[in-house]
């Protein structure tokens, strides 16, 4: 049996993960036209990979293999930040210092429109986790109200 704060921790882990996703999206938008990086070449779009957290160390209470005990649930975390391996955009701009012999510049493989959609998606997911915390809080205050009056 999980206590009420562990349930809030699950939602908080979701909020943390979505905030990290927001950081990555902000980085992508900020570097949408960056042609120089430390590794050389233009900026590569980054993406977060989420992973579910299950506390395996806890005792398995369920009878069958596909049954979990609630104290195993640990929410979500960002497993890794991966680079988008799609090719760079080629833009004709001979005046650019990073242009090649034919006058083409390799621009980052960031689609700003796509990043804006991801941004809205992250925002809504964040709000969903906040709603979940508020519901849990309502549970707790309703339970505390039992002993009152």
């Amino acid at each position: 049996m999980l206590d009420i704060f562990s349930t809030m921790n699950i939602s908080a882990s979701g909020m943390t993960a979505q905030r990290m996703r927001l950081d990555v999206i902000a980085d992508n938008i900020a570097n949408a036209e960056t042609t120089r990086t430390d590794e050389g070449g233009p900026y590569r779009r980054k993406n977060v990979v989420f992973q579910e957290v299950l506390n395996k160390a806890m005792g398995v209470r369920g009878g069958s293999t596909n049954t979990l005990a609630t104290d195993q649930l640990g929410g979500v975390h960002v497993d890794s930040i991966v680079e988008d391996q799609r090719p760079f955009k080629l833009v004709y701009d001979p005046a650019h210092p990073d242009a090649n012999e034919e006058g083409y510049v390799q621009m980052p493989n960031v689609n700003v429109l796509r990043e804006m959609i991801d941004l809205i998606n992250a925002q809504r997911s964040y709000e969903a986790n906040v709603s979940s915390i508020n519901a849990t809080k309502a549970f707790a205050s309703a339970a505390l109200g039992i002993g009152k009056g």
Binding site: I4, S11, G14, T70, L73, V76, S125, A128
Partner: protein, 116 residues
Amino acid sequence: MNGFFNSNFSTLPAALDAASTRNTIIAQNIANAETPGYKRKEVDFETYLQQAMGDGDGLELKKTNDKHFKNIPQQLEMLKPESEPARIPELPTTAITWTLTNKRLCWQPIPYAIRH
């Protein structure tokens, strides 16, 4: 212990625990809404209730004869027609049999008429 804090009273916290568990699972589902390969989890009270009613000892019907129904889900299998369906001869043109199709008991007309 009799009175207000009897056994019924102790089931109420259990119901609170069950609702809280469901809340936890939903929180986990929302947190993992964008996790690749994640399958939503759910608290399956109904399956366990069905199991308890199906083969549990506590919810059997009382019987005074071996042919009485013990409990409903398994005993319905007894109504399966074995070789030939039972006929009701009073009906002149269409006979109706008891058959068990898709685990649901229903009336089915036999495609032939019974001659007198």
